[in-house]
Symmetry: D3
Subunit: 69 residues, 6 copies
């Protein structure tokens, strides 16, 4: 099974909270990992990112897709 | 500084690759972390997620927003 | 009326379910259609996609924008 | 294998076009299908969607995730 | 024509820059406007947003869909 | 603080409405602004966008990330 996405994080479910329409699930990340971001080259130049730079990666929870075997 | 998003990952830039319009940046995650996903309650029920379940979290690179101080 | 998006699917509303903030709508697709995906060239190479290959296309419901005349 | 997403479309690769960073893949949808959208209840009320209503569903190609077995 | 989205901004094209696969378009916003955000109630509570609070709204360019009549 | 995104809009909170899982926040935009969109070059050509063209920019509220200092 191969996914057309750069980020695949192994995780374990920690908690589940549900509403009528939407649910929020929290996970513990179980392995150290690498992540990737695609952004415009203009934004990259504004950020002036170079290897070794420290950043925070922000991801809205709605963009995280859980897959279970 | 506070962000309206559940996922904040500390990371270090590993590599940068640029095109005219878009760029791809790779990061090493520098701290173990927790992640959150919002999905429909219907999808949650299909997945039948319970605490302790192992999952893969898939995130397209385009949804990862780097922030630098 | 022209949209800056590759995917336009003709559909008919099948059901509507509402909460205070969010709603979930189900549709029957009324015409056979073509779809498009943009992904990193790295992900494409990992998937090794060639014409004729069978795939599943996964789309979170939050990314589907209904338009009505 | 179960995905935390409402939309799963069976498709066949039709064409592939690549750049240094990003690629665009076109697919033929191989089975009639159902789709789902999550939107704010306010947007739903503005659209006044009822079963039987005809709509167009717009999805940016970047939000389509191909998965291959 | 009605859209299942909370944000509709009137704008005028300022510049266009194209690559083989992706393009970047800049716009001047032509009318003062209102915007809306959907986030988890947890994120809202972390931000502690109240009427009158000043914020910055961050939107990746990939999530902006231009429509032309 | 620099963000890897093209769109940064200054705004003031107007109203807040919360559910168990999701919340909807409305803002008044406090400064005239410029916006940017990334789309496929194919979509751009279909739209035939040229400087001066009038468009509507559609953004689902879920893609708007509020940041507060």
């Amino acid at each position: 099974m191969k996914y057309g996405a750069r980020n695949k994080v192994n995780a374990k479910v920690k908690s589940v909270k549900s509403d009528g329409i939407m649910s929020l699930v929290k996970f513990d990340v179980t392995s150290p990992s690498e992540m990737a971001s695609v952004l415009t080259t203009e934004s990259l130049e504004d950020l002036d990112l170079k290897p070794g730079d420290k950043v925070e990666l922000i991801i809205k929870a709605i963009h995280v897709l859980p897959i279970k075997q």
